[in-house]
Structure formats: structure tokens, C-alpha cells
């Protein structure tokens, strides 16, 4: 366990530039907002008194939606950095000419791989969580300032928003991690290109020969699409929020597809590590 901790620390040192980048992007984004608000405030362009929300059910529903929305920007940024880190996880040491140095340490390839996987995916989860907590505090403080608070709606929105991006990060990261074991460079793009190639090949064969070959892209998209927040459409005053939140928990976590997604992610990690372990080190 001590060796795994050492590997995590080493991989953190190597990856910290990429892992810290979302903080800088978020900080720049905040700076822009603060500047815009300041300019708007001094010019009198922002109608602060119109921020009052009304309606018994509308307020919690909107607070819930806002807290889910906290994740939209950092979530997408984190997904990009998850791809960046995991696509170089198992091939970067070879490119940097230090594979032999690391392989010559008395530690299992599985621990080494798990450390890279943890930093690539778990590290980005942690970054997302920290940014989201900061966003949560800022946004909910502003909402409270305008007299709009609902702890249950805020926290549910926050937790569901985080878990939805965490799941996409896990799947996307695992797929890219697998590609890093197969390809030497630009693993994600090469993986996507091959996937698209196979998909189009099957599509053409199906059209020309009338076969019914399964389209891999369809299965992958299906695997990724765990839920949409579609129930949230329509008039917010008509929404039964507790029912909506409970329904979302079932769609998001408590279902067989979640198990399948975790299983596929684990299988991709295991397959990537096996491929990596059996590669010759020249």
C-alpha cells in the first residue's frame, strides 16, 4: 500500500500541471464575470431587483436546476482534461524515454497502472468536486442574498450534477485509457477514428449486402447516455420536485445500467493493463 501511495504521489507530480489547469480556467472565468458584473453595476445595466423568484414549487425547482447547472462548464472542462491525461497514461513514459526506469522498480504493473488510472480519472473527479464546491458556495450565497434557499434542492442538484459528470468521466476516461495501451500517440483520436471507421464499414456493408451487423458506435452512445434531465422541461411550477429528484436518482445511480457502466470501465482498465504488461520494453 505504501508503494501505491508512492506511485500516486509520483503520478500527481507528473500530472499536476494538467490537473491544476481547470482551476486556472475557472479562475479566469470568475475574473471575467466579476469584471462584467462590476462594469454592469457601475453602468447600472444589471437589474438586481428583477432577480426575485416567485412560486412555491418554482423556487426549489429553479434552485435544483441552477445547482445541476453548476457543473456544465467545469464538467466539460474536466472531461477534456480526463481525455488529456488518460490518453497519455500508458504511453507517455515510452515517449519520454523513461519506461525502463519505471519498469525497473520492484512494483507490480497492476499497481502502476491503477495509480495512473486513479490520477487520470479520480484526480479529475477531485478537481471537479473542488471547483463545484466553490461554485456551490458562491451561487448559493448569491441565491441566499436574494432570499432564495432550499438546502434539499441545492444539495440534490449538486450531488446529481457531480455524479452525472463523474460517470461520463469514468466511461470516457476508461475508454481513452484503453486506447493509451494500444496506441503510442494521440490515443483518443486514433481510437475514435478507428471506431468511426469500423462503424461506417459496417454501415456500408449493411446497406450494400442487406446484413444486420451491429453498429459499435450505437452501443457506445447507448452506454454513455445514462439519463437526460428531460423531465425538467416545461413549467417549473407544475413540477413535483421530490418525485423528480427521486426519479433522477433511479435513472442516475440505482439501475442495472450503472453496474454495466462500472463493469465496462473495469474491464477496459483490466484489458489496458494486460496489453501494457505484455508489451515488450525496448
Amino acid at each position: 500500500m505504501n508503494k501505491f501511495k508512492t506511485l500516486l504521489i509520483k503520478d500527481w507530480h507528473i500530472s499536476k500541471k494538467s490537473l491544476l489547469m481547470p482551476f486556472w480556467i475557472t479562475a479566469a472565468f470568475y475574473l471575467l464575470i466579476v469584471l462584467s458584473v462590476a462594469v454592469g453595476y457601475f453602468r447600472g445595466d444589471i437589474p438586481f431587483n428583477e432577480f426575485k423568484m416567485e412560486g412555491e414549487m418554482a423556487v426549489p425547482a429553479i434552485i435544483y436546476a441552477i445547482n445541476i447547472g453548476l457543473f456544465s462548464l467545469p464538467g466539460f472542462i474536466i472531461l477534456i482534461f480526463t481525455i488529456t491525461l488518460t490518453q497519455s497514461a500508458l504511453n507517455e513514459d515510452v515517449r519520454k524515454n523513461c519506461e525502463l526506469f519505471h519498469r525497473s522498480q520492484p512494483v507490480s504493473v497492476w499497481w502502476r497502472s491503477l495509480s495512473k488510472y486513479t490520477i487520470g480519472i479520480g484526480g479529475n473527479w477531485a478537481v471537479l468536486l473542488i471547483i463545484a464546491i466553490f461554485n456551490f458556495i458562491v451561487i448559493n450565497t448569491i441565491l441566499a442574498f436574494f432570499g432564495q434557499t432550499d438546502f434539499y434542492a441545492s444539495l440534490s442538484g449538486f450531488a446529481q450534477g457531480f455524479l452525472s459528470f463523474a460517470k461520463i468521466g469514468l466511461l470516457l476516461g476508461s475508454l481513452t485509457y484503453f486506447c493509451s495501451a494500444v496506441f503510442k500517440d494521440k490515443a483518443f483520436f486514433q481510437g475514435v477514428a478507428i471506431l468511426l471507421g469500423i462503424n461506417f464499414l459496417f454501415l456500408i456493408v449493411n446497406v450494400l449486402l442487406g446484413w444486420k451487423l451491429p453498429l459499435p458506435l450505437k452501443y457506445i452512445i447507448d452506454l454513455f447516455s445514462f439519463t437526460s434531465f428531460s423531465n425538467f422541461d416545461g413549467d417549473p411550477t407544475m413540477i413535483n420536485l421530490p418525485e423528480l429528484i427521486n426519479g433522477m436518482w433511479n435513472k442516475l445511480i440505482f439501475n442495472w445500467k450503472t453496474l454495466l457502466q462500472i463493469g465496462v470501465s473495469g474491464a477496459l482498465f483490466a484489458a489496458a493493463t494486460l496489453i501494457y504488461d505484455h508489451k515488450e520494453v525496448k
Binding site: 508503494k3 508512492t6 526506469f101 525497473s104 512494483v107 504488461d277 515488450e280 520494453v281
Partner: protein, 281 residues
Amino acid sequence: MSLITTENLTKYYGKLKALDNVNLSIPEGRIIGLLGKNGAGKSTLMRCFLGFLKYEGNISLLGNSMKHHREDIHNHVAFIPDVSSLDDRLTVKQTIDYVSNMNDSWNAEKANDLLSKSDLPINKKVSGLSKGMKTKLYLLITLSLDVKILLLDEPTLGLDIVFRKEFFNTILGEFYNEERTIIISTHQVEEVAHILQDIIFIDEGKIILQEDVEELKSRYSIYTVKSDKEELLEAHNPRLITKTLGHVSAILKSGLAIEGAEINTPSLSDLFLEKVGGSNE
């Protein structure tokens, strides 16, 4: 006792035969030179020893079959491919911490001693170090390991003469004892000749010779005669005749009676050329 044995070891890269039926036995407590020209198969052999490459035949390292890389073997074997193979993204301190926490055989006392003697900038990234500094760092982390075998694969590649000498003198002074074996792979024979006890010549993937250096030197002599008496040397079918000002020399078996010949002890470089041949052969 043999620390490493190979039986019929053969390695292909595609159609290229990099190792050809190699049979070796590496004893304990020796400093062994694995010498060969560029592309002779030295690095391939080293990587096969550690199970980094797939091969045909058998390798036993400290009694363990190395058909597949076994990480626990690195508790007993340290490997330096070349000083550029350190991780450039870590600092000196991070590198030392990483290796020390990874290796149960880490000798903290020795590491501190070596660190205090060195002028390594502890917080600088490895990428910012000169080749000489990288060599010092690699030596520090390797010599602080209490292991039985040290494998050095062209460790001083690209280093200037000062650091090359310092490298091998440090290895000899800080690492070697009669229970430890050092295998040094190089194509620069002259820089390791003074520390070697045993020699292995490899050429085109085949082991040409494995012998004690002193025994080998005693078996051969350099015979030098005047240029007009070259036929005296040619009569013994030497592999190579070297011409110098007014004289010709050849390496032949010791004890030959050649009229008017000056006899000298050959260096390892001379023997290497005799056994393996020059670059323009």
C-alpha cells in the same frame, strides 16, 4: 554459483535474429564486460535477462525463470539503461523519494552519504540537469540499493571523458564487493578495460568468447616485426595485421617463436579487434 544462466537464448525482431542461441553462465562476485559493436545484441541480451523482451530458450536469474518480467526481481537487480532514461518530469528530490519508497533494498544511510558528497540541486527538475548531473543522480539512486546484481547498459553514452571515468570509479568504489556482480555492456572497450575481471564478446547476436580477462591476455601476445618481414606474421594466419611506421603487428597465440619479433601483452581493445574484427570488416 551462477547468478544468471541462459540456455539456447534466441531473439528475433521481425526477421532479424538479434540473439542467436546464446548460452551463458554469469558467476557471483565478478565485474563482467559485455562487449560488442553497435547492434551486436548487447542491449537485447540485457533486456532479455530482465524479461522485458520475449524470447526463445531459457533464462534463469537468481533461480527465477525470466520468461515474463517479474517486478520482484528488482529487489535484487539494479538496472541502468543510460542516464537519459531518468524521468525528466520529476525533480531530483522527487526522484530520490520515489526510488527510496519503491525499493525495500534502499540503504538510506548510504544515500544520505552520497547526497552529502554530491552537489545535486535537490529541487531542480531532472530535465534541467546536465548529463553529468544526471549521471550523479542515477549513481546515487542505484548505489543506494543493496542488490546482488548491477546491470549497466551503455551507461555513459554521450558523457564526456571526465564523467565516464568518475562513473566507473564510483561504481567500483561504492558498489562492488565479492558478493556482487556487475555486468557492463559497452562498445567502448577502452573505458572499462581497467576494471573488468571477466569478458564476454558478442557479435551479430552470437557469443564469441567468455573468459577471465587475465587468462585471455596470457593466451595472446602482440608480435611486432619490421614491415619487410610481414610474411613471418602472415604465416600464422592472423585475423588482422596493423601497420605502423616501418613495422607491422598482429595478435597471435602466446609462445610462438618469430624471428626478430617484439612481443607485448595485448590490451582488451586489441583482443576485441582480433576476435570481433574492426568496423570496416
